[in-house]
Amino acid sequence: MQPTSSRTVAFAIFAVVIGVVSPLTTSLAADEHEARVARWKADFDSKVLPVIRDRCLACHNAEKSEGELNLARFATGEQAYEAGDAWERVARRIRLNEMPPQGSPGLNDQQKGVFQRWVDNRPNQDLCRQLASEDTQSWYRGYVMSRRLTRIEYRNAIRDLLGVIPPVLEQPPEDGGGGEGFDTVGDALFTSTIHVETWLVLADQLVDQALPVDTNGRPRPTPILQTLLSPQSWQHLTDGSPEQQSRAASELLERFARRAWRRPPEPTELERLAALRQQALLQSGPLAAVRQTLKAILVSPHFLFVVETEPDETGIFPLTPHQLATRLALFLWSSIPDEELMQAADTGELADETAYRRQIARMLAHPKATSLGENFGLQWLGLRNFENQRPDSQLFPEYTPELANDLREEAVQLITSVFRDNRPLSDLLSADYVIVNSRLASHYGLPLPAESGWQKVTVSDRRRGGVATLGAVLTVASYPRRTSPVLRGRWLLDELLGNPVPPPPPGVPPLEQATADNAHLSLRQRLEAHRSKPECAACHDRMDPLGFGLENFDPIGRWRDADGGLPIDAVGKLPSGEQFSGPAELKTVLLSRQQDFLTHLSRKLLGFALGRELNKFDACVIESCVKRLHENGLQSRVLIEEIARSYPFRNRYYKKSEPTPAPPESRSTRFLNALQKFAEKSAAVRKQNEASRQPPTPPQPDPEVRKP
């Protein structure tokens, strides 16, 4: 329930935002817009609807909803208008001759023209400088949730704070994904007992490890910790007078907390830290007491959660400089801000465009930006769980854990280098180089002296280069014993071009299984037989030809000219009429769909950076990313900058709500404290209610907060 006053304020703020950023929206323009919308709706009723009824509804009706698309929902122009972006996807499938599928009656040129013109004329709302909120979207999904650090972010943050890395096997469990497919989405990040146990045990072990004592009982901090105090203060920490000890400890705790919590700690928080140290001093020496307090900082939710606390009102507000710095560091480094970024936040410098860009450029050039390859890249390409890939060990004894590791690392290196070196993003589709070490080079049949480390190697024939021909991708989209043009084609459409293919309808027999009557057929012939059925053709006509273009690569990504004694046939023909043979020509086709690729990559990177599912308001950011990329030779840094500078990245929608009562405390002291707070609050509420002469409304316990 929103009190009326706060509702009014929310609307007022919203109106101001619109008013400032789109001064061109005069009433005249608004009238024009209304007229366009009306015309567009009328066109649907008179021109488009008949085509849909005639050609689409046989499959895309409420009952069948093939491809998860029910077009019968749109019976009027009004309903069609509500559907918004959905029409872009329909139009693309029609444009590429993918729909209606072969074997079904298709659209003639005139019908296609009608449909395409109608979609192109869709009246666009100006969404660029808006963020979805409950005022603008009833099904609002753009809210970024306060969330815990992911497994990778936790590891990196500990590394950057303490200078030690938690052992892989003792890190918290792996995280799942949500939103646009990434683990940065708060909705899909949960905290279990195992997490708290792990954080506690690791804080204990790693702080001791980062701050050991030498034989004289003096601290020997890791270089990264050492920078937090002057040599003299370090000495005072154990050898000084009680006052000196206390001063040095306070200094260390404040600086460490500032770094770990990504903001200057509040005075009350510093008092509590000091009290904790005092308490520990009763049982142990000065250094152990400091360690104990450092551990508390690392188990605190201020470290473990990305908290963007709420202002007092509902509405859209810019992030504070420290919140923005944290988002930027999580985006580019999957870690916390370093000292330089923190200082830029302290001084308010981040509000300055030039300084902000300078920070981005600096951070991209930093070795920590490897996380763009390791964290964003592997999740985007579907390689996060690559170690679970198990090609048949009898057919492929060459596939060792070391090779698997190199295949994964190659993907990390390629994506990292594209962003670090500000390469054009088209390098990801097709490039004249690969990044390999000697083991991988010999796997690929490239000349490189034994014992060579990771390096760029030029390939002139375009067989390799880009993500589609990464050994890891080719392996992940194969079966353990053979390749699959279907899986590879699906991978290209889904992960690279962003045109997902629906799953096969239930009851369809496994596609490539040999049966008595088709045993004499090759894989290609069996696939072609399968595609002769219209319900299969719709998807397989899109997937299979693309996959056939990669048939020269075996199930573990090696080049081959023959399979089972037969020469490889790597010819593919798409519904659009495009024909190609082999990976080099396939890449030409991919480059011709560069627009789809750039849109998809922008979408993925934005979804990763924001940590949520995207909505129609974000489409504008994606459009402007693609536009700016074209203006700047597709330089990767432009994409990062556009996202980091975008409205949704720098602003947050806050939804103020009455705090729900916390679950009861487990220990009696805290319970009493809470009881007292509750009593005070109730008294305040009573007083307020009496003042406004309204019947008292006791705070309602939230039904969803349950405790056994």
Partner: protein, 293 residues
């Protein structure tokens, strides 16, 4: 415990169980634990739920006849020694597993029996609490850990954009509430250390330190919670609940009471080697061994 009691439990909860193996495993665990010296308190009856994907070959799984002298099916042959204590339940098909995509909608509700929300992240829900967690709520006072969640593979990453589900549904069968999956441990060594309280309460001084730390961060979290919006508060409640669970664990482990049963920590129980075994069968065997400790 008689079969009758367990059957009443199943009926009483009203949750359909899809795993015929349940009782045999509960029984195995029971049998293994009773071999310890009689001075040790009687171990509480435990329940185990094992999920394995892709189903079974029914013809080799379901026994051909019923009644006390039934014959075990070929797949269940290894249970011959405990056949008399084993019940094979059939007809536990779940209505809400018929819709939705196979990988996600049918895994996440394995122990909830409820419809799974179709989503790539927002409002994740398995429809209900899972039966293992429901049992754990009622029996947590008898065991050092209310429940153990084990697995052999990491959580599957990403979303499935083709069918519109987050893949994490395919990685969780244990749900503390409809909206909160319970993380699981895949490293046998860490399971062993958790089970015996070695990580948290190995030394009493350490346990006291941990208690102080947790007290401190609980206050942090309670204060922070008041400054958050509603959805964010729920996220912090997960943290608060987990911190309290760890506190209880430390209390339990640092103050052993004679009437309490402890896992079988006889000297011959060697901790598993560090790391995850490369061999899948070995990994499975270790995890099962840990189940019966």
């Amino acid at each position: 415990m008689s079969h009758h009691t367990r059957r009443s439990l199943l009926q009483g909860t009203g949750v359909a169980l899809g795993l015929p193996l349940l009782n045999s495993l509960g029984r195995t665990a029971f049998a293994a634990s009773t071999t310890t010296a009689s001075a040790i308190p009687k171990p509480p009856l435990r329940a185990a739920f094992i999920y394995f994907p892709n189903g079974v070959w029914e013809k080799s799984w379901i026994p051909e006849n019923t009644g006390p002298e039934y014959t075990l099916s070929p797949t269940l042959q290894p249970l011959e020694k405990v056949r008399q204590q084993t019940l094979v339940l059939t007809g536990l098909d779940k209505k809400h597993s018929h819709g939705g995509d196979g990988h996600y909608a049918k895994t996440a509700n394995f122990l909830t029996g409820m419809p799974v929300a179709k989503t790539t992240g927002k409002n994740i829900s398995s429809g209900g609490i899972s039966i293992d967690q429901l049992i754990a709520q009622h029996t947590s006072q008898f065991t050092p850990l209310p429940s153990l969640e084990l697995g052999t593979e990491p959580v599957i990453s990403g979303i499935d954009s083709n069918v519109g589900y987050t893949r994490l549904y395919g990685s969780h069968i244990s749900w503390q509430s409809p909206t909160r999956p319970v993380a699981r441990e895949i490293n046998p060594r860490l399971v062993y250390e958790r089970l015996f309280g070695k990580r948290l309460a190995g030394q009493s001084a350490k346990a006291a330190e941990f208690q102080n730390l947790l007290d401190f961060v609980l206050d942090d979290a309670t204060q922070l919670r008041g400054r958050l919006g509603r959805d964010d508060q729920f996220k912090l409640d997960e943290y608060l609940d987990a911190v309290r669970a760890v506190e209880r664990r430390i209390e339990f482990a640092s103050k052993p009471r004679p009437e309490h049963w402890e896992p079988n920590s006889a000297a011959d129980t060697q901790p598993p080697a560090a790391g995850i075994p490369a061999d899948f069968r070995e990994h499975l065997r270790l995890m099962f061994d840990l189940l019966v400790l």
